[in-house]
Amino acid sequence: MTNPRHNRSSLRRTLFVCAGLFLVLILAFVISSILGAQRLSFGGALCALTGKANCSLSAEERAILFDIRLPRILLAGAVGTCLAAAGAAYQALLRNPLAEPYLLGVSNGAAVGTMTALVFFGAYEWSRPVLAFAGATAATFLVYRLARGRAGATPERLILAGVIVTTFLSSAIVFITTVMDATRIRSFTFWLLGDLSGTTSNLLIVAFLAAVVGVIALGVNARALNLLMLGERDAFDLGVEVGRVRLVVFAAASLLVGASVASSGSVGYVGLVVPHLVRLSFGSDNRLVIPAAAIGGATFVIIADTLARTVIAPRELPVGAITALIGAPLFVYLLRRGAASV
């Protein structure tokens, strides 16, 4: 693969790249809306999506498109944006190309929060994103403290800390499932792997708002993240208020992960695959990486979910199974390359 060696990115280049990625996202959106157990005609779907009335779709097809597929695609996009932007931020802040919400255990923290809300405060839907955010924050704090040695956090140490937090929280998840009634357990195992089928319109709105707020919060700190990527001491020397930026970035990332897990479970590896591809294609400047990953993440999860819905139609796979199938080999590749270069 080629590594483009641009001197620097500029606002113009960032806007150009983001516009291009946005066109790809629209294309994925339209194609995803016609594919599924029931195939819709391209022209009919496009016609209906652009808001026209007399399209060549039956009433049943319209219902499939607007009531089933569209909310799900919108959710896939929001979740992808949340996870990819959070992944890019974790990687810069923790100086680790392998950092990823799922691998760090942050997704699991949010999952414990969501399940606690479901079991104990089932009547209050808003408690799910709130507790998911709390769980993600707690897991972030925990993994950060565990990974920080005297010599700073090495990549291997961070991943080990992530494994510890993940397994610990997994046992908490198992504990919570034992107090659930048996009929719900199967849907939960599905949800834990990332499932976009069972959300509500409120949670979809929460995921969208979190994506917008979180990506903006990360974006305004992108230039500071460029320096933090080179080390906390370097960033401090060059004028970054390290403590404040770290707090804002961790909070924003926890918000992104919390909202996406509350609405669709733990979709893994999105935060690894997408920022990595963006960096490989456009360089490491976070002012470009964060918005580009946000748009690319939406495209990636929409495509993954389309595959999840279609490969064994009419049955479905959890979307997390597809993303892990793509992400795990990439993780191994990055780990090997990292070990070779150190």
Binding site: N7, G219, A224, L227, D234, L238, R279
Partner: protein, 266 residues
């Protein structure tokens, strides 16, 4: 411009630096010399606010260092650290222009101005990194990377430079170039530099004042001629040295005397 007033730094129970005072004045280069673990780097990091002294205080332009916003300190004090540890594909230009962060109009957001870009290009040129702008930092040699770190410090337009073993990775020619750059910057633009170094002879050539440190304390402070004596160096390093004059510059020249008796023949 920058002054340490009787600072003591304790790490847990260990005393890393004790009762040190140091005045950094315009156009002065001060070298700090001493054995490993003498507290040289701790002192340097205290001068930058990175380490907070347990007692005593650091004064920058008449006010306590900690009363400034981080960005204001970074506009006035630049650090050249030992080694840049770059784990992402960052180009030399991206790295050097990082020095302009403290001058951004809006906190943390926005893009570099034309002036920022000019300053970064200028810093790249004077550190002899022309043509390297688009190379990746982690593909450079240790010496090239060290020069990029210096270029970034020069791009900050700070008046005070704090250098932690700036010549450790450099070959003979670039060692001299590096210190000549710092020296001429200090002479021309009322800048000042504090250099932690193990290279006693370079310190003798390029500095106005030398501080000898041992076990966290300042043992002696003065001009290179006053400080780099056989007696003081023996006291601090527990090593016999010969000191004579450099044949060209006349600066003190230090040569360790190695006693080979205890080493068995190969």
């Amino acid at each position: 411009m920058l002054e340490a007033r009787n600072i003591t730094v304790n790490y847990d129970s260990r005393v890393a630096a004790a009762e040190i005072s140091l005045l950094v004045e315009p156009s002065k280069v001060i070298s700090i010399i001493g054995p490993n673990g003498a507290g040289k780097s701790t002192l340097l990091r205290t001068l930058n606010g990175n380490v907070i002294p347990t007692t005593g205080e650091v004064i920058l332009d008449g006010r306590p260092l900690h009363s400034y916003a981080r960005r204001v300190v970074a506009q006035r004090v630049a650090v050249v650290a030992q080694e840049a540890d770059v784990r992402f594909p960052v180009t030399v230009f991206e790295f050097v222009i990082g020095g302009r962060y403290a001058w951004a109009n809006v906190t943390a957001w926005g893009w570099e101005s034309v002036r920022d870009i000019e300053l970064a290009q200028n810093a790249i040129a004077i550190t002899e990194l022309n043509g390297f702008e688009s190379r990746l930092m982690n593909e450079l040699s240790g010496g090239e990377r060290q020069r990029a770190v210096l270029a970034r410090a020069l791009a900050t337009e700070a008046k005070i430079f704090l250098l932690d073993e700036p010549t450790a990775n450099l070959d003979l020619a670039h060692q001299a170039t590096m210190l000549r750059l710092i020296r001429s910057r200090c002479d021309k633009s009322d800048s000042a530099a504090v250099v932690v170094t193990h290279d006693v002879n370079l310190a003798a050539e390029f500095s106005n004042e030398v501080m000898l440190m041992k076990e966290g304390r300042s043992v002696a402070f003065g001009s290179p001629h006053e400080i780099l004596t056989e007696q003081l160096l023996k006291e601090v390093f527990a090593l016999q040295v010969l000191v004579d004059a450099h044949p060209v510059s006349g600066a003190p020249r230090v040569t360790p005397v190695h006693e080979m008796k205890s080493v068995p023949p190969a």
